[in-house]
Symmetry: C2
Subunit: 509 residues, 2 copies
C-alpha cells in the first residue's frame, strides 16, 4: 500500500528532478538549421501566378512613397513617378532585388552570439511592440522600463532565442523622445545577443547606429550589420516617410531591414490569401529595391506578419487558417526572390493566457517553422493581437520554441542497428524504459507542463499553465546574470544617452 | 464622443450577430477532400529504412498472438509459430496486406451521412474512451450515460465531425456487462452518422453487429461496413485475445477495424521515432494481415495514437514534437502499404482547459491534417492524456477542426482577375472592407474566440475560452434535435437491449 509518506517522498524526488531541470545552466543554442523538409502550400505554377499578379501591381497600379527624398532616389531609375506614386517595370525591379544578399551575418557585441541570417539558417527574436504588460499577478497594465529589462533578461536566457530584441515591450514610463535610447541600451546591456533597431524616427535610427558605433567602433558599425530593424508599410501600397527614413539610415550603414507589410486580409489587403500575398509581395519588393538604391548589397528581409480581419466587426485576428496559408505562401515567395524570409510565431488574440492563446499561437508556429522562415519574430508572449505581452505566456511559448527546434532535427537513422538489437532484447511484452538505448535518448518533454497523474497534479497545487509560466518567469529572473560589458563601453553608452537626452529635452517642453 | 449607450448599442449589434452565428442551422459537411499538399517528414529512402526494420521485426523477432483461435488461423499460412509467437516472411505478409482495400464505404443509418474512408477522403470521429468528464461546472467527475448522450449530441451537431462515435466517454453509472448495449444505442439514437463498434469482449462485438442487423438488416450488416472499431496492441509486439476476438467478429462481417498500436515512445516502443514507427508498423501490419485471413478484403486501417513518455517519470505525454514526427511518419508508412491512415487530433495532457491544452492539441492537429490521415479520431475534448473529456474543450476543439477543414481548401486562384480589379479600384491607402469582392469572401474566423478589443471583452464579462466553450456547449444542447428513427427500429433495438440485459444479468450477480 502506498502511504501518504511514500507519496511525499516520491513528490520530493520529483520536485528535486523538476528543480534540477528548471535550475539548469543557461544554454544558448546556435541558429537553427532545420533538417526537416519545407512545406509548400501551392505548387510552382501557383507561385508564378502570385508573382505575375504582384508584377501587374507594381507596373500598373504602383506603390506610394510618401517621402520627397525617396522619390528623388527613385528618379535615378526608369520608374514612372506620378505625385508620390511609383510604378516600375518588373525588369528593373527584379534586377535591384538581385543585389540584396541571400544571407548575411548579424553581429552581436559578443561574437559567440553573432548569427547568420538567411540560407538554411533560422533565428528567433522576441515579441515586438506591445504597450501593455500582463504582469506577475496576471494583471494587464501599461508596461514600464523595468518590464522591458525583465523581458530582455528572460529572452536572453531562452535557449532558442537568438536575438536580444528591441521593443519587446513599449516602456510607457519613459518619455517618447528619450525612449528609444533606453530601449536600445536595455537590449545592449541585458543581453549580448544581436539587437533590433529603432524605427520610429530618422534621428532615433541614427541614435541607434551611433550607439552601435560605441559598441562596435564607428568604421565597423557603418559597414556591417549590427542591427536588424523592422519597417511596416501602410497597406495597401503605401510606404510613409518615417519608415523610409529608418530604412535609409540603416541600409546606408549596411544594417539589415525587414520590409514587412502589416497585412490584415480583408481590410488592408484583399479578402483572399492569393490577393493578400500579391499586395504584400508588391510592397515588400518595392521597399527592398529601394533599399538597394540606398546602398547596393544592404541586407533586407521579405515577410509578413499575417493577420486576418473578422469581416463582421473589422477586428484583426491572429491565429487563423487563412493567416497560416499566407505565412506558408510568404516563405515560398521569399525563396522565389532569394531573400531571407521573416515570419511570426507566438501571437494570440485572446485577453487571458487561456486555451485560445495556445491554439492561436500554434497557427503561427507550425507555418513559421515549416515554411523555413529564416527570421521568426514574436518568439513569445504576445496577447491581444500584439497589444499586450504576458510574462506567463512568454515562458510557455519559449518552451514551444524549444520544442520546434527539436522537431526540426527530424529523424535520426544512424542508430538503427542498435534499435533493432534493443527490440530483440526487450522482446514482446517487455518495456524499453530501462534499456541502454533509452537511457541516452533525446526525446523532447516540456519542462513545465502538467504531465503527472491527476492526483499528483492536485498535490502540486492544481496549477494551470499560466500559473506555471509565472512561477518559471520569477525563477529565471532570480537566476539571471548580466552578461559582461566593458566598463568604458558601458560608460560611453550612458554618457551618450545623457547627452542626447539633454539635446532632445527641448522637444519635450 | 462614444457614450455608454453607443457602446451598448454597438454591443447589441455585435451580440445579435454573434447569436446569429451561434444559432445558425446545423450543417453536416461532407468528408474532407484536402486540396493542400501532404507533408512528408522523411524522404523515400527513410520510409524504406523503416519498412526494412519493420520487416526484420516480423521475420526475426515476431509478434505474439495470445489467442489459440488466432494461432490456428495463422497456421493456414507459412508463418513460423512458436508458442504464441508468430514470425512471418515479408512476402506472405505483404501479399495479405494487398488484399485490404485502399478505401471503403462506412454506412450510416441515414444514407446521406455515409462516408468514404480512404483515398483522398478524410473523416473525423469524436473522443474515445475517457472515464472522466469535466462537466458543465468545469468539475472533473466519473462520467455517466447522460454525459455520453450529451457528447453524442454535440458531436452530431459538429459540422466537420463525420462519425457518431462509440465510447466518446465511458458511462460509469451503467454496469459493465450492460454498458456496451447502451453505448451503441446512444450512438445510433442521438446521431445518424456512422458508428464505432465495441471491442471490450467478443460477445459485445457480436451484440454491436446484431444491433446493426436491426438497423441495416441482417444480410446487409453481415457484408457491409456498418461499424469501424478500434483495437490496440499491447506494445511491444503483443495482440491479446480480447482485441483479436473483436477483430474476428467485425472482420468476418466485413466491418472495418483500425489496427492501432497504442505506442508510448520510450516505454512500450524504443526511445526513437524511427524505432517506434518500425515497431508500430510490425504490429499493425500483422493485425491487418490477420484480418485478411479472417475475411479477405475486410477493410482495415493503419495508424497510431502517438504518445511520448517522460523519461524521468514514466508519465505518458500527449502533445510533443516526437509524437508529431511519429504521426507524420505513420501517414507515410500507411501510404506505402496503401492502407487508410488513422491519426489523433485534439489530445491534451493538461488537467484544466488551459494554454497547455491548446498547445498540446495542436501538436496533434497539424500532423493529422497535413499527413492526410483518412480517419482522425479525438476530434474534440480530450484532457489528461485521454483519461478525461471536457465539455468546454470539446467545443473549442470542434472549432479548430472546422478551421483545419477550411485550411485544407488551400488557395483559390479562380478570382485572380477580380482581385486585380479590386486592387486597382481600392488603390493605395484605401481599404478592402467595403469592396464587392470582400463581401462575398470566404475567410475563416473562429465563431467564439475573443477577437474583440480588450474594453469590449471586459464589457462582455472577461470570459476565457473555457467559459466560452461551456456556454457554447449549453447553447448547442438547447438547440439539439434528435434525428428521426423509425419507431419499429427503435423498439426493436430497445427490445434487444432488454433481452440481452436479462441474459447478461447472470454475470452481474
Amino acid at each position: 500500500m502506498v502511504t501518504q509518506q511514500d507519496k511525499m517522498q516520491r513528490k520530493g524526488g520529483r520536485t528535486a528532478r523538476l528543480a534540477e531541470r528548471i535550475n539548469g545552466p543557461i544554454i544558448h543554442k546556435p541558429a537553427l538549421v532545420s533538417k526537416v523538409p519545407l512545406y509548400d502550400v501551392v505548387n510552382e505554377e501557383g507561385v508564378e501566378q502570385i508573382h505575375e499578379l504582384a508584377m501587374r501591381i507594381v507596373e500598373e497600379v504602383g506603390v506610394e512613397f510618401r517621402d520627397a527624398e525617396a522619390l528623388e532616389i527613385w528618379r535615378k531609375t526608369d520608374a514612372e513617378i506620378d505625385s508620390s506614386n511609383v510604378k516600375i517595370g518588373r525588369k528593373t525591379l527584379l534586377e535591384l532585388i538581385e543585389s540584396a544578399p541571400t544571407e548575411y551575418m548579424h553581429h552581436a557585441r559578443n561574437p559567440d552570439r553573432s548569427v547568420l541570417v538567411g540560407g538554411r539558417s533560422m533565428v528567433l527574436s522576441p515579441s515586438y511592440g506591445p504597450p501593455f504588460i500582463y504582469d506577475f499577478e496576471g494583471i494587464r497594465r501599461p508596461a514600464t522600463l523595468d518590464d522591458l529589462h525583465n523581458l530582455q533578461k528572460l529572452n536572453h536566457m531562452a535557449p532558442s532565442v537568438h536575438i536580444a530584441g528591441g521593443p519587446i515591450v513599449e516602456p510607457l514610463d519613459v518619455v517618447v523622445p528619450h525612449r528609444h535610447l533606453h530601449m536600445t541600451y536595455s537590449s545592449m546591456k541585458y543581453s549580448d545577443k544581436p539587437i533590433i533597431g529603432n524605427v520610429t524616427a530618422r534621428e532615433r535610427a541614427q541614435d541607434t547606429v551611433d550607439m552601435c558605433s560605441i559598441v562596435f567602433g564607428k568604421e565597423f558599425a557603418s559597414n556591417n550589420c549590427c542591427t536588424t530593424s523592422l519597417i511596416n508599410s501602410n497597406s495597401p501600397l503605401v510606404w510613409d516617410a518615417t519608415m523610409l527614413d529608418a530604412l535609409k539610415i540603416y541600409a546606408s550603414n549596411n544594417h539589415a531591414v525587414m520590409c514587412s507589410p502589416f497585412s490584415m486580409t480583408g481590410a488592408s489587403t484583399p479578402a483572399s490569401n492569393i490577393g493578400t500575398m500579391a499586395v504584400v509581395t508588391a510592397e515588400a519588393l518595392m521597399a527592398i529595391a529601394f533599399g538597394q538604391l540606398v546602398r547596393k548589397g544592404a541586407p533586407m528581409l521579405f515577410g509578413v506578419p499575417a493577420m486576418t480581419v473578422a469581416l463582421n466587426s473589422g477586428a484583426p485576428v491572429h491565429g487563423s487558417p487563412d493567416s497560416a496559408i499566407v505565412q506558408f505562401l510568404s516563405g515560398q515567395m521569399a525563396r522565389r526572390y532569394k531573400i531571407p524570409h521573416r515570419a511570426i510565431a507566438n501571437c494570440a488574440t485572446s485577453k487571458v493566457p487561456d486555451m485560445q492563446a495556445g491554439f492561436d499561437s500554434m497557427w503561427g508556429l507550425f507555418p513559421s517553422f515549416l515554411s523555413g522562415a529564416q527570421w521568426i519574430t514574436m518568439a513569445g508572449g504576445i496577447m491581444e493581437g500584439t497589444l499586450g505581452v504576458s510574462y506567463a505566456k512568454t515562458m510557455i511559448d519559449l518552451e514551444q520554441i524549444d520544442a520546434f527546434y527539436h522537431f526540426c532535427q527530424g529523424c535520426y537513422f544512424e542508430d538503427i542497428e542498435e534499435i533493432f538489437e534493443t527490440i530483440q532484447e526487450v522482446g514482446s511484452g517487455g518495456h524499453f524504459l530501462g534499456s541502454a538505448h533509452t537511457r541516452k535518448a533525446n526525446l523532447f518533454i516540456f519542462p513545465s507542463q502538467n504531465n503527472v497523474p491527476y492526483e499528483q497534479w492536485e498535490l502540486d497545487g492544481r496549477k494551470d499553465s499560466a500559473q506555471v509560466g509565472l512561477e518559471k518567469a520569477k525563477n529565471w529572473l532570480s537566476r539571471y546574470q548580466t552578461p559582461s560589458m566593458q566598463d568604458d563601453v558601458d560608460k560611453a553608452l550612458q554618457d551618450f544617452i545623457s547627452q542626447r537626452e539633454s539635446e532632445l529635452s527641448i522637444n519635450i517642453e
